[in-house]
Subunit: 402 residues, 2 copies
Amino acid sequence: MTAPLHEAHPSSPGRRLPDTQQGMRRRNLARVMHTVSAEGPLSRAAVASRIGLTRAAVSTLVDELIRTGLLEELGPERPGRVGRPGSALTVSGRGPAGIGAEIGVDHLAVCAVDLRGAVRARAVRHGTNRGRPPQPVLGELTALVGQVVAEAEREGLWPAGLAVAVPGLVARDARTVVRAPNLDWHDLDLGPLIPARLPLTVDNEANFGSLAELWLGEATPRDFLHVSAEIGIGGAVVVDGRLLRGTHGFAGELGHVPVRPDGPECACGGRGCLEQYAGEEAVLRAAGLPPGQDRVGLLAERAAQGDTEVRDALGEAGTALGIALTGAVNLLDPQAVVVGGALAALAPWLLPSLERELARRTAGRGCAVAVSRLGPEGPLLGAAHSVVRAVLDDPAAVAERV
Amino acid sequence: MTAPLHEAHPSSPGRRLPDTQQGMRRRNLARVMHTVSAEGPLSRAAVASRIGLTRAAVSTLVDELIRTGLLEELGPERPGRVGRPGSALTVSGRGPAGIGAEIGVDHLAVCAVDLRGAVRARAVRHGTNRGRPPQPVLGELTALVGQVVAEAEREGLWPAGLAVAVPGLVARDARTVVRAPNLDWHDLDLGPLIPARLPLTVDNEANFGSLAELWLGEATPRDFLHVSAEIGIGGAVVVDGRLLRGTHGFAGELGHVPVRPDGPECACGGRGCLEQYAGEEAVLRAAGLPPGQDRVGLLAERAAQGDTEVRDALGEAGTALGIALTGAVNLLDPQAVVVGGALAALAPWLLPSLERELARRTAGRGCAVAVSRLGPEGPLLGAAHSVVRAVLDDPAAVAERV
DNA sequence: CTATTTCGTCATGGCGCTTAACAAATTAGT
DNA sequence: ACTAATTTGTTAAGCGCCATGACGAAATAG
């Protein structure tokens, strides 16, 4: 059984482990890793002052982390200040790697990320997976994972875990795809089908996208609402730096928030759901464009050319998003709304109406709207980084695995 | 962040404490308190097995807690089991007390709750506060607090803190009332106006109500959505046993979630907000009843008598609530929706349409809807208990204050 | 009445951090 | 250039906190 990823930082309450000295040590190892990872090369003394331990204590923690290959000593810092210069520490570039994978509707992608956050290996296979049975798709994915792992190992890394982003709802066991409408997969446990010898985590691509935003975004706050859309409309809620998952793991589903309660019927049983105004299919219909491959690119292209029909359709979608987000902002009072995934490319034409609606309805206090810099890369990077974060969160667990 | 979210108490420790042995001790003291508090009289051995420490360690923890008056020894248990009987421990009934206060539109109330959760003193003053200036109201409240504190002290308790529930939005400093429309108070720091010599916390009554539900409710899950309505429509989101507060402290505001985006204009600047369909004023208008005192009681009475106009109005309100809650349930995937506050009394006529709408729009997975047992008592009890919880969460802090 | 079981305590020990002192490496001042 | 001051990293001693193991106490089982 694997420790839950990107859950609470070990020092947060709620865990039922006995609070003993081993636990203390583990948490302090984690704090050293987090500090060094977040604030670049740092001397032992700098780490000590940041986390509130003494230099002596940090020294022993660092020794252990260096022995297990999680930290590296870069050598003496260049001294601009008085006093003996410290010895700079960094997270290792030859230690564990997080393997991220993405099952997209039109592609498969895998990458390896080291502790420093650098992408060290990638592999992609283009071609639609719509309606294909799981076995061949997952077989191809496993092959790509094998390639990436081999390449990472050639660079001196060893894979610490595999995280797979899926375009659909995933149960809280982090293995079972409950419903992926665009793949036509249902209630499918991916565990036995991905025979990599690695701890496996499966999650919704919107969830991984929002985590990528949290971890890699430029000025992403710790409380935000992430909106993305690949085919349906995904969303995710991040509160205090943690992803809100919900009872069944379905939290963040914006697509079926009622926008116009008496609107057209939706497959979900409701009426006037957001997806019927801002979903890809609906927007294409309103824009008078046929379905096909890379329809987001097509929309962006036409909008950029000044196609008013397309622009109006996107404006309408933005309005609908604004209405749905008003409800969410009222409920959650987030610090920002981040528009990501495929929506990021359409932001120039969505945002004006979206922001207008949001500003009007939340009178004054409003909420900042930002566009993701990561765009469609989010889910893959988020997946890989989730493995890296798990290592930072509990380095002692990694050490046990050599 | 280390401390629970609902802990806005001034004594709450800095969030980045170094993880040292003192911290470990503090956390273990807290775990002993929580365990004894939650699972009734327990022997040291029983506590030890529950929290995963040894009997020896628990003994020293318990000794310290008894010395500081937070635990009491009841004497030997009388069990039919083999072996030496343990000595039963309970949280003290003569130690610290939580003082809770409520500023209602039509009343003021104060109570004292001991560590066992028993209400040991109360005081109420009826009479409207609508539009009254803050000073006299808070003066009366302070007098009531004085009475209750005196009575609690006669019973051998000492006040550990004061928590005040307010019908309006409260900033994250837990002291400033940003907007209380029915009192007509704005941007008011209650700190200097309540000169009780106690740590003060101020919060929205809906927030305290939801915490009461969490702590005192019969089978309340750790993830739920609380809906209450006194005049406006309050709500609160509880995730993993913690209250979600939001960036400005405004999270949970359901009243201005858009229900019909082209509906009538709202004071908030939006259109078709929930408050215009399920707010007290709107319901009264739809029911053809005049405003006045205890209008909720009137509505309940008329509905019980079979007044169809009233029943229709409540049914409409339920539908609107169902639509707004559909959005919230989609976004948060909570384990339950709990209807509380003044709405609890109207539940028989609100719930059918509310549940129908929710079930239809969330097809299948839905969400349980429950009615609060606490009803209008929630905010006051939640306020008092929030102080008690702060003591349980960090008993060492209390010990320092003798 | 003895054996067994469980509870609470005590003495001992280990682990992990702090304190204090020191050598090493740099800058500041004369 | 040389000394004083400053900062780093390490080391040894010490203390706090929990684990271990043994013990007496208090109940039940036979």
